[in-house]
């Protein structure tokens, strides 16, 4: 009897406290993932009613799909740039701004601002700046460049222009995290190293850098996960072009295939591959970086 009341209470507690959140998560995240896996084994297309089970056919087709392979290549290059550049530049900016005073506070705000801007706003700004008659090329003109590059219209250049825009927006995040890391470096350690005759570079390498290991981990993992799902900038700035697939990321191609071409079964297979890659890559990076933190 007692036990029955206790179990009843436990269920009531679970239902009232955990229930609402879990229900929303289940309906809008977990169930869709399961559905996605299901779709990926069919030829589901909302415009063509005869949906049937096709097994792993979609996955097999992906291996030779030039469009998908191109999007993997684009995503890989973009991810590498977006993980490395803001990390390196962000560290330099953080070191530069790691001083007290009103000037440095104001300058920090400058770097943080793009973080709170919508990626659509950032994309529109840069589309104008990088247009063939945009500000960037006008400035180049002042320096006598008569044939400026087509930042967004040259198929060999667009991917790098796009990646730079994303780096510009992500930089602030890295700066914040590195600044916090720098403020956690004890002043005494720096002074002790200075007394022992270590120059600024050696002090940075031997004292500061190892203590920034957690900041590096956070930045790398967050940048990796964000870079992998980049869609907004592609949609607004290049729409996947110029030409075919020069800037179409996997995230972009999934939605194009699913919602524009309506091949939802096939798009789901792409999405599942994307999910597996992102999970494996972030788990791997996290493991490597955390092991490094322990060793340091």
């Amino acid at each position: 009897m007692e036990e029955g009341i206790l179990t009843g209470r436990r269920i009531w507690h679970f239902a009232t406290f955990a229930g609402p959140g879990l229900l929303a998560y289940g309906c809008f995240v977990l169930a869709p993932i399961v559905l996605s896996v299901g779709y990926s084994l069919t030829n589901y297309n909302p415009l063509r009613p005869s949906t049937r089970f096709v097994g792993f056919e979609n996955y097999a087709a992906l291996v030779t799909d030039q469009q998908f392979l191109a999007s993997l290549r684009v995503t890989t290059i973009m991810t590498l740039i977006v993980v490395i550049v803001p990390n390196v530049v962000g560290l330099a900016v953080a070191v530069m701004l790691d001083r007290r005073g009103a000037l440095y506070n104001a300058l920090r705000s400058v770097f943080f601002t793009p973080m709170v801007l919508s990626s659509v706003v950032v994309s529109v700004i840069w589309t104008r700046l990088l247009a063939s008659d945009g500000l960037v090329n006008q400035v180049l003109g002042w320096f006598g460049v008569t044939e400026p590059p087509g930042w967004l219209s040259d198929p060999n250049l667009a991917l790098y222009s796009l990646s730079s825009v994303i780096c510009w927006q992500m930089l602030g995040f890295c700066v914040v995290v590195y600044l916090a890391g720098l403020q956690g470096v004890p002043q005494e350690l720096q002074e002790a190293a200075a007394i022992d005759g270590a120059g600024p570079l050696l002090r940075f390498r031997e004292v500061t850098w190892p203590l920034l290991a957690p900041a590096l981990t956070i930045n790398t993992v967050v940048l990796l996960i964000s870079a992998f799902k980049i869609f907004d900038h592609v949609q607004v700035i290049t729409n996947g072009g110029p030409g075919t697939g020069t800037t179409a990321t996997v995230a972009f191609t999934v939605l194009q295939t699913g919602f524009v071409a309506n091949r939802q079964g096939y798009a789901s297979a792409m999405a599942i591959v994307m999910l597996v890659i992102i999970a494996v890559a972030s788990a791997l990076v996290l493991k490597v970086l955390q092991r490094r933190e322990v060793q340091l």
Binding site: F28, L103, V121
Partner: protein
């Protein structure tokens, strides 16, 4: 000593100078929007970098008085979606976070893992089936549908923040209240929830900015023509009025202003929230 410091090799003069120049270059895109909001249309194309002299409010007035009410409609939608999503998210994730943080059973660890893996799931993986789930409940292309989706999609982040915070709040307070005969609900709302204020602030700040800025989710869920949020409104404006960039800049400026003010007021909490783990690891 002082004189030495001014000319010192550690860059006492050099550092602020370099910092100013680097920040100025970084600032150019933001400057570009700011000056062009207050410039007449033709001048934006011919002289994008010039300071707006004399400044004009024409672009903003034109935007605010548009016959299709693009700005006002989008603003109302964005405010509604953001505010309602954030309020529901704070309540749901605080309670779920409390359940997770206080539960002693083993399977809750699995539950936590399943929830936290939600932090890295890209929306592209779930959006295709989401449209079907929402259609099932007749919520496709509605604000309610978008809000419910936001709640499900962002609940892991809320739980992550609240459980982390609750681990530092002692249980004894709650246990004492339980002995006094208060129910779980009373204890949570009267004692625990007020203590969670800093965590609630973090969740509000981050999710508020993210949901306000969301582009893909409203684009797919609200669909074309079924009302726009601020971001999908900008996207529509660049499609429609390719030439009138004065108005597009005005729209971007007005769309960002609320977030920017919010952010400048709460900058300290914002940075604190971001860097909680950066120093501890």
């Amino acid at each position: 000593m002082r004189g030495w410091a001014v000319h010192g090799r550690d860059g006492t003069v050099l550092r602020p100078l370099v910092a100013l120049v680097v920040s100025a270059v970084f600032f150019v895109p933001l400057y570009f929007v700011l000056v062009n909001v207050f410039k007449p249309g033709p001048e934006i194309a011919s002289n994008p970098a010039a300071f707006p002299l004399p400044p004009t409010l024409d672009n903003i007035v034109a935007l605010l008085t548009r016959s299709d009410r693009l700005f006002w409609a989008s603003l109302v939608n964005s405010v509604l979606v953001t505010a309602l999503s954030v309020v529901v998210l704070i309540v749901f994730s605080a309670m779920l976070g409390h359940y997770v943080a206080r539960s002693r059973s083993g399977w809750v660890r699995w539950l936590t893992l399943v929830l936290l893996s939600g932090l890295m799931i890209p929306p592209q993986v779930i959006l295709l089936p989401i449209t079907r789930v929402l259609r099932l409940f007749d919520l496709m292309a509605t604000m309610q549908g978008l809000i419910l989706f936001n709640v499900g999609y962002y609940v892991p982040f809320g739980v992550f923040v609240f459980t982390g915070f609750l681990r530092q709040v002692p249980r004894e307070l709650e246990e004492a209240a339980a002995i006094d005969g208060a129910s779980r609900m009373q204890i949570f709302w009267k004692i625990v929830f007020p203590l969670l204020r800093p965590a609630s602030a973090s969740v509000m700040i981050f999710l508020g900015v993210w949901i306000w800025n969301d582009f893909l989710n409203p684009l797919i869920i609200l669909g074309p023509g079924k009302g726009t949020t601020i971001t999908t409104g900008i996207y529509r404006a660049i499609g429609q009025y390719q030439a009138d960039f004065g108005q597009v800049f005005a729209l971007m400026f007005m769309a960002t202003l609320p977030v920017l003010i919010f952010y400048l007021l709460l900058q300290k909490d914002f940075v604190k929230g971001l860097t909680g783990g950066a120093t501890k690891g």
